[in-house]
């Protein structure tokens, strides 16, 4: 008798606990989902930020790691009296998007006033209605100093909602001692280099470059042409031509010599070259892909006035020079070269990866505009290659 009593006691205890748990869980899920719907998303007309007369208060910025020198933030704080919370929590566009999306869908930005994201991600966020338009009256430096070539990108023709932070090129990084003949993206498919090349795992970088090799203009490519190009990459993967798909961890493969060439980013090449002079960025004969990481103001951003004050501040060539000297990408600000020349920084001025001439980049193309649905489809197809 005693033992059976004990038995039912334990069973009912467990049952009660389980029922309570499920009830609580369902309740929480119901609460959570009401805010996760479509409100705040999907609108074509974005709102323009509302500015106050004078910038003050505090400002939170989300940027990529190692993308700013140590002095700019304190200098800005001193100059404006705005206190800056600068966080380096953007490690990849998709991951950052995954983290922010549930908040953005509710019209919140997690306290952030500025995100820095790559062109295609800015386009995607805009399409979902997660970004605000900028008030250009507070951005005279941007109006004046933004490089001509960056003023009308396909994803934001009039720069209504994005201001470039830094710019770079996607192209070839080659071990010139091991594969001096590689000059084009098409060369990467040469069976001579079987198993000795890495491609980027980002669909938006790799596929347009391979399109260029195929003679397709990435800006006008149909979904069909995207798929055809992905299929070519798939065949090369199955034949063992492509060793792996990487992020910028291709650096290790290049350094060890496990691969002789990769599709990679110019800024990495500047740094790799400093360690090993045999590693060089090569402008593919087909041209390169030009991308920018852009400052954008998300919906629900607190203190947009301070956010625009920051954008304006970093577009002063003197302030920008400080950042450019540290990061080694292409600066989007006119006049930085002159600042460097005055300082006698000849090496920086002469580096075509930091100050590319028009001649150097004449065949390059910006990241193609592609609808969210098409992007989803091609990304799925591409990832099924990457994750064979």
């Amino acid at each position: 008798m005693r033992s059976s009593e004990k038995g039912t006691g334990r069973a009912s205890l467990l049952a009660a606990t389980a029922v309570a748990a499920i009830a609580v869980a369902l309740g929480l899920v119901a609460c959570g989902s009401s805010g996760g719907g479509i409100e705040g998303g999907g609108s074509d007309e974005a709102e323009t930020v509302k500015l106050e007369k004078k910038a003050s208060g505090s400002l939170t910025i989300s940027n990529w790691p190692l993308y700013i020198d140590e002095k700019t933030v304190p200098d800005f704080e001193k100059a404006t009296g705005i206190s800056v919370n600068y966080i380096e929590d953007v490690n990849e566009n998709d991951g950052f998007f995954a983290k922010m999306q549930p908040l953005l869908a509710k019209g919140e930005s997690g306290g952030r006033s500025i995100f820095v994201v790559t062109d295609w991600m800015a386009a995607k966020m805009r399409e979902l209605g997660y970004l605000q338009n900028l008030d250009k009256s507070a951005l005279p430096n941007v109006e004046k100093n933004l490089l001509e070539s960056l003023r009308h990108p396909t994803f934001d023709q009039e720069r209504e909602f994005s201001v470039p932070w830094q710019t770079g090129m996607g192209g070839l990084i080659v071990r010139t001692d091991l594969a001096p003949e590689i000059k084009s993206i098409c060369d990467l498919f040469d069976s001579k280099y079987k198993g000795k090349v890495d491609f980027l795992s980002e669909v938006i970088e790799t596929v347009p470059l391979v399109m260029a090799c195929e003679g397709i203009n990435p800006d006008e490519a149909s979904e069909d042409q995207w798929m055809k190009t992905i299929n070519r990459i798939k065949e090369a993967t199955e034949e063992g031509q492509i060793r792996r798909f990487t992020g910028n961890d291709y650096a290790r493969d290049l350094t060890s010599g496990d691969v002789v060439a990769v599709i990679g980013w110019s800024g990495d090449a500047v740094q790799l070259q400093a360690d090993n002079p045999n590693i060089k960025f090569r402008m593919p004969t087909e041209g390169c892909s030009l991308w920018s990481d852009n400052m954008v103001i998300p919906v629900g951003a607190p203190n947009p006035t301070a956010a625009e004050a920051w954008m304006n501040y970093v577009y002063d060539p003197k302030n920008q020079a400080q950042i450019a000297e540290y990061v080694n990408y292409i600066t989007p600000v006119e006049g930085v070269k002159e600042v460097f020349e005055k300082e006698g920084q000849d090496e920086l001025v002469k580096n075509p990866l930091i100050f590319p001439t028009e001649e150097f980049t004449k065949k390059c193309f910006t990241q193609p505009k592609i609808s969210a649905e098409e992007l989803q489809n091609v990304t799925r197809a591409f990832n099924s290659v990457v994750n064979g």
Binding site: R10, L13, T17, A20, A21, I22, V24, A25, L26, L28, V29, G32, S33, G36, I38, G41, G42, E92, D94, G95, F97, A98, Q101, A105, L128, G129, Y130, G195, S201, V203, T237, E238, G240, I242, R243, R244, F245, D249, R252, S256, G257, D258, A372, E373, Q376, T379, R380, N383, S384, V385, V386, N387, G388
Partner: protein, 285 residues
Amino acid sequence: MTAVRRRLSPYLLLGPGTIWLVFFFVVPLVYMVKLSLESGLVGNLEFNWHWKNYSDALSLYDTQFVRSLIYAGLATLFALVIAYPLAYTIAFKAGRWRNVLLFAVIAPFFTTYLIRTIAWETILSDQSPVTDVLKAMGLAPSGHVLATGGAVIAGLTYNFLPFMILPIYASLERIDERLIEAAKDLYSSATQSFLRVTLPLSAPGVVAGTLLTFIPAAGDYINAQFLGSADNQMIGNVIQALYLKQSDYPAAAALSFVLMAAIMVMVLLYIRFAGSEALMGEEAR
């Protein structure tokens, strides 16, 4: 008063654990179930009992699924083959070196998992002496070791080895040595006493070790990402890409559930086969 308190005490004792489980396991789980039955693009997801996510998960990613189970199974097997003699030596033969050896087993944990795996990338790179030796032994038919399935399995084996060694060691160490002496007194050979006394008594450790190795290995994606090529990606890589690259949350959630269910079924069958008393030790007998 005391009666009430006695009746309430089990609830109170279970409280912290239950709250923890509800908030960090049950709630996310229910949320994931709901997510896995939604369809549409991110930002416009709609809950509509979209069971197709599940059939898609199985039909689109069956290759990676089977591959994951094979890789995890082989890694578990290799880990067992390496771990048992090692644990045996530490438990019975190490003498005063026992603590040093145990420390050596645990020492890799002082470095993060990620760094250890990236270190393997260097160890197995094409120019490394290790690769030269493996090539000379004819173990690298494709001419390289890194970016092959072998490298992924080796990485898995290495990374989960301590989870195999420690439970086996713990169960061996608990064995009353007088039992082995008794077997010898009864004229059993060393082999017989091992097979009939030591091995059965260490079975709980073996079962626990294989589960602790197989379950996380089947869902792992770090090793495949760094040590494998496109042909060696596991189901974890697919889920990661679905979630973080494609923003296809419903598909990722459905696939996670399929993986969870598959592993659960396999584990239940295994425990059934191995006997739950083996898992729980003598207490359950």
